[in-house]
């Protein structure tokens, strides 16, 4: 017999029509699944009552795939085939991994698309497959708990994830046979879990100090939509680093002179972790140790001593907070809520320093390990249609501007940063040269004015444009971003109807600090960029002018111009050509004007001739005006 759950008034479903939905926090260290039942969001436990699933997958030579605790327990003996922290790899290239992350125990291979694959005994495994194994495990758990199939899920991703990483996460879900209602930014999910979407408008800080990473995001609630104003953080700072500090303190305290082997180090490390967790509740902890030939007994660690040891690291989280506030261009007093996420925020010192810094009460009531998954579950419940329509749908925003390259290496932004998703925007472009039949479209992401300073996302070509004079073709370029932040670009020549399109699934991703750098440099270089844009625009105009006049001269200079007139025009043209590479846009502009002025009589003569030609032999009545 099916077990029933309480619905909202009037939302009772007919049998077999129930729509179960879940929220999944796909974390670097641990993952969780949550759902809304009887009007309450709750995380779901597995058979052994554990809610956190270690985000670890191990591949065996016999084809078996282990996930969670089982895989984690083999991470020391079989590091090559055990994949931990796959979230750091997803949607990124091998090159990037080698540059930024030297701590990986796995080996990687290059692929055609540039994304990293992991070499294991079971063959080359992509991080997408790894993530899908974790998702499959959670899906299985949710369906066992709910007693039916999931109609869809909401999966959370860091706010700084780019299109490649988001698409990779979505692909992992598809591979796990899960329908993704939406990808949701982690800080947004945390804010939803605290019900801050129902609050009046104001800035929200989400301070996320997890096992391996630290992120701070500033959100602004604007008409029911969360905008990510700024993100900052440290991808290599987490609770694990605190454990290491305590472990070092223990070895120092024991005054061990010889080199410790790996398993002893792991033993001390686990003791350190235990002490850290104990000290969130108590003022001192007794650490029992039994190390061969070195020490057997108990050492005491007080909270004061603990604070003293970890304070320098905890303080390192404050400067990203300061930076995020600066980037968001807000005042500290505009911050209305501070939400704490991640296991490390249980540490009293962390809470105290954050409270002191933001000068206000912080939200700690919801389990910081679960808060993101709970928020995702609430969102999933709404998207599955289990809530009355009055509950607004929350939207996310586009983190970086998207545009295309135009002549002169300039960026024409089509969808600007912080536009709410989903969105579709179109803009018309035209051909640059006479008789041009194809157009290359280069899609870029970033805030800067020049293509070189932005990130290239994709290139495609539109062929079959009917030959026309420059500027006559009308090419409509449409950018469309779906609710998950994935981009589709299409180009259509409106006269002939030829069309071409691309779905952007970029081969590599951006580092979070790269996004930050891109944002910051756009502000820093704003004036410079503007000057550069002006210059490039004038250069393009000059080139166009030169091409037009040269084509005309070649065609009929002899018919319209005497030698003196010709010399005059040539002089102006030469002058313009000479200053083309000049770095002063004003000089180029002047030279273009000069050419236009000097050649104006010539243009006039040509025009009259053309009109004459067009009219000759026609009856007045034949001409449609």
């Amino acid at each position: 017999m099916a077990l029933l759950q309480i619905s909202e008034p009037g939302q009772s479903t007919t049998p077999h029509q129930r729509r179960f939905a879940a929220g999944i926090d796909l974390g670097t260290t641990n993952s969780l699944v949550a759902t809304v039942r009887n009007g309450k969001a709750e995380t779901l436990a597995d058979e052994s009552k554990k809610e956190l699933l270690p985000s670890v997958v191990r591949y065996l030579s016999n084809g078996e795939i282990q996930t969670g605790e089982k895989a984690l327990s083999h991470s020391i003996e079989d590091p090559k085939n055990t994949i931990i922290s796959s979230k750091r790899i997803i949607g990124r290239s091998t090159k990037e991994l080698i540059q930024t992350d030297k701590n990986h125990t796995n080996e990687f291979s290059h692929t055609e698309t540039g994304t990293a694959k992991i070499l294991t005994v079971a063959g080359e495994i992509s991080p997408i497959e790894v993530a899908s194994e974790i998702l499959k495990n959670l899906k299985n758990r949710a369906e066992k708990t709910l007693g039916d199939e999931l109609s869809g899920v909401v999966i959370t991703v860091p706010a700084y994830f780019d299109d490649a990483q988001r698409q990779a996460t979505k692909d992992a879900a598809t591979l796990a046979n899960l329908k993704v209602f939406r990808l949701l930014n982690e800080p947004t999910a945390a804010a939803i879990a605290y019900g801050l979407d129902a609050e009046s408008e104001g800035a929200i800080v989400v301070y996320d100090f997890g096992g391996g990473t630290f992120d701070v995001s500033i959100l602004q609630l604007n008409k029911g939509v969360f905008e990510v104003l700024a993100t900052a953080g440290d991808t290599q700072l987490g609770g694990d680093d605190l454990d290491l500090l305590i472990a070092n303190w223990i070895t120092k305290k024991l005054d061990i002179q010889f080199e410790l082997d790996k398993s002893t180090l792991r033993y001390i490390y686990n003791k350190a972790k235990y002490a850290k967790e104990k000290l969130t509740q108590e003022n001192k902890v007794a650490i029992d140790l039994d190390i061969d030939q070195a020490f057997k007994g108990t050492i005491i660690l007080t909270r004061n001593k603990f604070n003293e040891i970890v304070e320098p690291l905890v303080k390192k989280t404050i400067s990203p907070c300061r930076q995020a506030i600066r980037d968001a261009n807000i005042n500290k007093t505009e911050i209305k809520n501070v939400v704490m996420v991640g296991g490390s925020t249980r540490i009293p010192l962390v809470r105290q320093l954050v409270t002191d810094f933001f000068e206000q009460q912080i939200h700690v009531d919801i389990d910081p390990d679960k808060v993101v998954a709970l928020g995702a579950a609430i969102q999933a419940d709404i998207l599955a249609g289990n809530k009355p329509d009055s509950d607004m749908l929350l939207l996310d925003v586009n983190p970086l501007s998207l545009g295309i390259e135009t002549m002169g290496g300039l960026v024409e932004k089509i969808i600007s940063r912080n536009t709410t998703l989903p969105v579709a925007r179109a803009q018309e472009f035209t051909t640059f040269k006479e008789g041009q039949t194809a157009l290359a479209i280069h899609v870029v992401q970033g805030e800067r004015e020049l293509v070189d300073d932005c990130r290239s996302l994709a290139r495609f070509e539109l062929h079959g444009i009917p030959p026309m004079v420059a500027g006559a073709a009308k090419i409509r370029v449409t950018f469309q971003i779906d609710a998950d932040g994935l981009l589709n670009v299409s180009a259509r020549e409106t006269i002939s109807g030829v069309e071409s399109q691309i779905t952007v699934k970029p081969s590599y991703g951006l580092e979070s600090d790269e996004i930050e750098n891109m944002l910051r440099s756009s502000i820093k270089h704003a004036a410079e960029d503007l000057g550069m844009r002006k210059l490039r625009e004038q250069q393009v105009a000059a080139k166009r002018e030169l091409e037009a006049i040269e084509a005309a001269l070649l065609e009929d200079a002899d018919t319209h111009l005497n030698a003196e007139e010709r010399t005059k025009i040539d002089a102006a043209v030469d002058q313009l050509r000479a200053c083309m590479e000049d770095s002063d846009s004003a000089i180029i502009k002047k030279a273009i004007k000069n050419v236009e002025q000097v050649a104006s009589f010539y243009v006039e003569r040509r025009m009259n001739k053309n009109i004459q030609q067009a009219l000759t032999g026609h009856n007045v009545n034949d001409i449609n005006i």
Partner: protein, 107 residues
Amino acid sequence: MAITLTPTAANRVAEFLKNRGKGEGLRLGVKPSGCSGMAYVIEFADTIEDTDVTFVDHGVTVIVDNKSLIYLDGTELDFTKEGLNEGFKFNNPNVDAECGCGESFTV
């Protein structure tokens, strides 16, 4: 005529109502549909209508419209666990046959 709750069910309903922050009680009912004639309705209730009958058991208000009551009279609502799954179960003496899933029934 009465509808009762097991202590476990009453505790859970009270907890869910408290967590929800509003509501007059728990609405139980039946509606035609499903694979076997009738389907159960179990919802939070924000309003009580003139046509409703209310019961209080273990401190929980149960609201049933008088049409549904004919089908539910004597029912005991239970809350049970089956493996990882948990939820409410209607122990309804009026039921003649249930569909395999137990979400619908005939009287």
